[in-house]
Symmetry: C2
Subunit: 317 residues, 2 copies
């Protein structure tokens, strides 16, 4: 963009300042990060005033974060970084071009404590008058052979019809709208849940400032979270979205993928549900995963810390 | 670095999410920043665990920052960003290849309140037994004509022999080791100050974590700060360094430039000083500055906020 020439030795000088005790992976990561930040500053000819605005913005992220509010995580979501890291970590394409059902970001609301429930049960513990009950069902299959996958654990979680998860909402009991199910010998699964409800990211912090500056909506499309695990198959963590959701094209955290958009259909003859959702999943054997032993995403610490904090406050009573 | 292929449409999709009300300059800056952050993540194949370490690091910057401690500013210094922004903002080279005396970063310790002093006066208000008094003198000249520059204001500030500035140290009075001087008709200036003392950046926060990870010293070479202003000439903000300082090659904030390294010489026959420092400065007419009306660096707010806080605490007595 610029014709001005800056000292070509400066960035290598900064990168090469790392001493011999820097771990090799840290050297690679920090070297690349510093080069990109410097290239960015030169490319836009960042002014002192703009730089200082950026400094204050960075400071504001940590200033509002708490053990149960991770604004740094949220800022990464708003710039698409969590979604990109997920693609890098989990994208599977075989040499024949075969891919399983897409992964997307875990988000901050997964809980390790969801209870196992029987196939056909409901995850709705606390009814919400605006909730539209849905019978959700489908089959898990091997992406190459089409064989049904038995004994996979499907962990589902979703916000209630007010857009809030159990541990954001004092009117919901723990594990409302959460549950783990095991696929049967035919690879089948089924349960009752709600049609999901769109909700906004919190906009009272730096993420709100950034979304406003970018003239973007803070809304996420409505979604149901799924985490599907099996000893032989690569874990699928994703979210599914109603095809008629108005926020599909502008998800504030960039986690929509085409194969995750689903159709809710009217259901008749079932006194328990007014909607039907068929959703089938194909999974890849672990050998196809770029890093099958990667640690699971750690972004659930908001939930852990909340639980920890509640435990502490209970022990003080 | 990687042979893996990631979705080529993802980054443009994130950048193009900005709406029509985004100010044009914000669009340029955020677009470039997002592209570089994404390119970085793909280049190093950033893992989820590494990304989350980065999130926690960002959160820790704001968590330790206060009105009088700007850790975001310090992190930028440690990765060379403030120094680079200074080069972008202030580098002057004429078509004939002529440059004035180098600029470097202002740093967080400049004060707008330094008093005017007469040529030949001392800036030492509080003597430190380890301080080596230096007679500093030189001439300001136009970089093209060599003509002396009369009436420029030279604002000097430095840490005491304990490595602390007046407002870091309760044993120093306000404006100790600070002063403003005006060049005479021959472009000359002179005063008494201390030989400067090297000091460490604070290492009890994220900057310390980063310096340690990069296996780098937190020390800055000893330096004297100068800000030289004149109605017709581009402002020079710089720092000068003793040529025998052991930290010259590894300044923790990357603010050393060759023409700012100076020789302190023994001085005899002056009962007030044991060292002599001749330092001459060449300045560029404002027409040569890439942005002569740029706002001055705003990094002095630590000092402003400290003054404000002291005022408040006094009013509460």
């Amino acid at each position: 963009m610029s014709n001005r020439q800056f000292d070509p030795n400066f960035t290598p000088y900064v990168v090469n300042s790392m001493g011999p005790k820097t771990p090799e992976r840290a050297r690679v990561i920090l070297g690349s990060l510093i080069r990109h930040i410097h290239d960015f500053a030169r490319e836009v000819e960042l002014t002192s005033a703009e730089w200082m605005m950026g400094v204050e913005f960075i400071n504001s992220i940590g200033a509002i974060s708490t053990p149960i509010r991770n604004e740094g995580h949220r800022i990464c979501d708003v710039i698409g970084l969590e979604s990109l890291v997920d693609e890098i970590a989990n994208k599977i394409v075989t040499e024949d071009g075969v891919s399983p059902t897409s992964n997307v970001i875990l988000g901050p609301f997964w809980s390790p404590n969801a209870p196992f429930r029987a196939l056909g049960d409901s995850i709705i513990q606390n009814e919400n008058p605006d909730g539209r009950v849905t019978y959700m069902h489908g089959v898990l299959r091997d992406m190459e052979t089409g064989a049904p996958i038995e004994g996979a654990v499907l962990d589902i979680w979703q916000a209630s019809a007010n857009g809030q998860y159990d541990f954001q909402d004092p009117n919901q009991t723990e594990n409302n709208l959460r549950g783990k199910f095991r696929s049967n010998a035919q690879g089948e699964f089924n349960w009752y849940c709600y049609h999901p409800t769109p909700y906004s990211l919190p906009t009272d912090g730096p993420a709100g400032v950034l979304l406003n500056l970018m003239d973007r909506s803070p809304f996420r499309p409505a979604h149901i979270h799924l985490m599907i695990t099996h000893p032989d198959y690569a874990t699928v963590i994703n979210q599914i979205y109603p095809s008629d959701d108005p926020h599909l094209a502008i998800d504030s955290v960039f986690a929509v993928k085409d194969d995750l958009v689903v159709d809710f259909k009217p259901k008749s003859g079932d006194p328990k549900a007014s909607l039907d959702l068929e959703y089938n999943v194909s999974m890849a054997l672990k050998k196809h995963h770029p890093n099958p032993n990667a640690a699971p995403p750690a972004s659930s610490f908001e939930r852990f810390n909340k639980a920890e904090k509640e435990k502490q406050s209970r022990s003080q009573l």
